[in-house]
């Protein structure tokens, strides 16, 4: 391994995938906590406060992980991608800078009031801090996604001597793919956190602990998910149509569509053969891709062979990443709609098989988020800024061995830290809102019967 470009890409893919796990959870969770605090403020019912406090502890751990792994990223743009910083710094710098100000402005400081304020601040300030933190995380997503979207659909700039100069900031911030990427990602965060809350609530119902809290968690989650999960399909579809316009090769890779002169099927499964420029083992829905992308049964859209091989993205990453995201998307829609139907029938809190499934699928959102980013980012290759700067020209003049050493250090350190976070979050969940342990055995069955829960 002495290819510095590949090493730099792998290292960055590792550190940023690690980072996004936490924001995608904290953006959603902070909004959930803020909602609970508002409900507490309006109703005066301390049940909401208890639930909010419980999730706040988990939020604190995740947030700390987001902060430390995020700081790494902002420095990696210089340490690993100095060519990118030099060429695109005039544009990316201010956008990333506004994310830091947003993080600063609302998150870091109000967070300390939210976490440690306790009896030192009045109730209204506590609620306000929770809202400020939720707004701050969404605002930092706004700015960083603007920077990222600009890399996919650059606008409002001109190139002089290989350096991008801004011409129109409005066009830069609201570049053509921004609004799709921002809404899709924000919604992804709410879905991710929603499924985590649903899973924890279901887990408590199954164990017959914390019944009051669990009921609120499960109902609030289903109420939210039944709207947001279908919405994600709609936004994703619009996102894809927009991408077809600006990055047709990425779409071709997502669909493993080689020959643009023919309409194509939707491949539920296939093994893209990049040498042979064809797919093996196809299982397809006839004309599916043409219908989705052009809304015509025999519609045409560009294929991978429309560009030479060295301008195509790694097809397998993009193709399978997209399939994984879709699978999760449809699972989420199914689980949410079915849960809503159970609720309507009055069975939501008692159908054990349903609770068993959702209690075990807390992780689906995280998988979809990472898969979605792999689609987006791999699909842009070999460009780092679409059509403007190649990835190979974006790296730093750093020796391959230095990148390899630090990569190994990142894997070790992140591994330890991740195991720690997973362990402690799991323990916080285990202790539950009142700090009790989940009991097992006969007592559990007894308590179950007491609340009228039957298998």
């Amino acid at each position: 391994m002495d290819d510095p470009v590949l090493l730099a890409r792998l290292q960055f893919a590792f550190t940023i995938s690690f980072h996004i796990i936490f924001p995608s959870f904290t953006i959603g969770l902070s909004a959930y906590i803020a909602t609970l605090e508002m409900m507490w403020g309006i109703s005066g019912n301390s049940l909401y406060k208890r639930i909010a406090l419980f999730w706040t502890k988990i939020f604190a751990v995740s947030f700390a992980m987001g902060v430390v792994s995020g700081i790494v990223l902002s420095y990696q743009l210089g340490t690993n991608w100095s060519g990118f910083s030099a060429a695109a710094g005039n544009i990316i710098g201010p956008l990333a800078g506004y994310e830091v100000l947003a993080a600063f402005f609302l998150e870091a400081t109000f967070l300390s009031v939210m976490l440690f304020g306790g009896d030192r601040v009045p109730q209204w300030l506590h609620i306000l801090s929770a809202i400020a933190v939720a707004t701050g995380t969404a605002m930092s997503a706004f700015w960083i996604l603007s920077a990222n979207s600009w890399m996919h659909t650059p606008a409002g700039y001109e190139m002089r001597n290989g350096v991008a100069y801004p011409l129109d900031w409005w066009a830069i911030v609201f570049n053509p793919s921004f609004i799709y990427r921002f809404t899709h990602m924000l919604n992804a965060s709410y879905l991710t956190a929603g499924f985590a809350v649903l899973a924890v609530g279901a887990r408590y119902l199954l164990a017959a602990r914390h019944f009051d809290e669990a009921r609120v968690m499960v109902r609030m989650a289903i109420g939210l998910l039944v709207i947001l999960a279908p919405l994600q399909l709609f936004i994703g579809d619009q996102h894809g149509l927009n991408t077809l316009h600006y990055q047709p090769v990425k779409i071709a890779a997502m669909e493993a569509h080689w020959d643009g002169s023919k309409p194509d099927d939707f491949h539920v499964f296939a093994w893209p053969d990049e040498k042979g420029e064809r797919n093996l083992f196809e299982i397809s829905i006839p004309r599916g891709a043409s219908i989705i992308l052009t809304h015509k049964i025999d519609g045409l859209f560009p294929g991978l062979t429309s560009v030479p091989p060295d301008q195509r993205p790694p097809v397998k990453n993009v193709f399978f990443g997209f399939r994984i995201m879709l699978a999760v998307g449809f699972y989420m829609i199914g689980a949410a709609l079915f849960g809503a139907w159970l609720w309507w029938r009055g069975l939501l809190l008692t159908r054990r098989w349903y609770l068993n499934i959702v209690a075990r699928t807390w992780w689906v959102g995280f998988v979809a988020v990472i898969a979605g980013w792999v689609v987006t980012e791999s699909g842009r290759q070999p460009w780092v800024v679409q059509g403007v700067l190649r990835t190979a020209d974006a790296i730093s003049p750093v020796a391959a061995h230095a990148v390899a050493i630090t990569f190994a250090l990142f894997v070790v350190v992140y591994g330890i830290v991740f195991i720690g976070a997973a362990y402690y979050i799991n323990r916080l969940i285990h202790h539950g809102p009142q700090g009790e342990l989940i009991e097992s055995g006969s007592k559990q069955e007894g308590a179950l019967a007491q609340h009228g829960i039957h298998a």
């Binding site: 420095y75 544009i91 730093s396 230095a402 350190v413 992140y414």
Partner: protein, 341 residues
């Protein structure tokens, strides 16, 4: 994009940005300095109760403190992308090692509170703080030494930063953060813990003065450009007060420690740090990539600096206001057993 108003005093944009970044770095060094210092003092505490208190004294602040590091580093990318794209590769290993150290101590804040057996995270907290502090000193030294540049990109090797000078700077920062951390404990805690912090602070003060003197003598001797800056007329007369004030502040700090004053030592050690920082600025200004590129040669497009400046001028005062509010909210000595509520 041009500014909707004229800058006063004939300032230009790169200069304003250099000021903002300089301010952020100074704030970072002092603020994260005292909480990194807590990590350095951790092994010397007597028992977990003391450690709980030490951590509680910085817990509401560390996250906000660390954000200034991003404003410093991120600010460099915003306003001086060319300097950023040269200095970051030049300081590749120390920067990444520093980040890894910050990760360890950052998560230790959260995990230690949740763990039953705390030794592991105590160690992570100390080791992370020590590695991060030392690396920051090395980065400082590497920055003063400068970088080899060809065609606007870094042209040196992986280990160019590694010199006796940068190692000494690393040790100097370790002693400085220990001083800030121990005087912070004098300010924020009471009883045995505070008493021990007092004597630790005295040792740290001695070490700080030693390293300050060493670096002040070393830099002009090794770097002719720094010698010229300080020891030519009339500069010499303008800058002579800096060492003088430094000595006076060190005396005040020592006096406060001996006289059992709670507040003077901490504020005096802040001033001590700022004076050292001022000395550095005098030595290096206006270079961002010594010895070749100045702030004007590495500045971002005017439009980029302007776009960001507008947001910064609106938000920075607000950020400062509520930073002060948080320090005010959590003022006074740490209460026993204080953590989450």
């Amino acid at each position: 994009m041009t500014l909707p108003f004229a800058l006063p005093f004939g300032l230009d944009l790169p200069l304003v940005w250099a000021g903002i970044i300089g301010f952020s770095v100074a704030w970072y060094v002092v603020a994260d300095g005292f909480d990194l210092g807590i990590g350095l003092l951790f092994p010397f505490a007597r028992g977990e109760k003391d450690r709980d208190q030490m951590m509680a004294s910085v817990k509401p602040f560390w996250d906000g403190n660390e954000t200034w590091l991003i404003l410093g580093g991120g600010g460099l990318l915003v306003a001086f992308p060319r300097a950023y794209s040269i200095m970051m590769p030049a300081l590749y290993l120390p920067v990444i090692v520093m980040l890894l150290g910050l990760i360890f101590r950052g998560v230790a804040f959260e995990f230690r509170g949740l763990a039953n057996r705390k030794q592991g995270w105590n160690f992570a907290f100390t080791a992370g703080s020590a590695v991060a502090s030392f690396a920051q000193g090395v980065i400082l030294g590497g920055f003063i030494q400068g970088a080899r540049v060809e065609n606007g990109a870094y042209a040196g090797g992986t280990f160019d930063w590694l010199t006796p000078f940068s190692i000494v700077c690393g040790l100097g920062i370790l002693s400085g953060y220990t001083l800030l951390g121990s005087t912070w404990l004098v300010l924020k805690t009471s009883g045995d813990l505070a008493r021990r912090a007092r004597s630790q602070a005295l040792y740290a003060l001695g070490a700080v003065l030693f390293f300050m003197a060493l670096v002040s003598l070393w830099t002009p001797l090794v770097f002719p450009r720094i010698y010229e800056r300080w020891f030519t007329l009339p500069n010499f007369f303008y800058f002579a007060p800096v060492p003088f004030f430094t000595a006076a502040t060190a005396l005040a700090c020592g006096w406060g420690l001996m006289r059992n004053n709670d507040t003077v030592p901490f504020y005096a050690s802040i001033v001590l740090f700022l004076l050292g920082y001022l000395g550095l600025v005098i030595s290096v200004f206006p270079y961002l990539v010594p010895p070749s590129l100045t702030i004007w040669q590495t500045a971002a497009a005017e439009s980029s600096q302007t776009f960001m400046l507008i947001g910064t001028l609106v938000l920075l005062p607000i950020i400062l206001a509520y930073t002060f509010f948080v320090y005010w909210l959590f003022r006074g000595k740490v209460r026993e057993g204080e953590s989450y509520h």
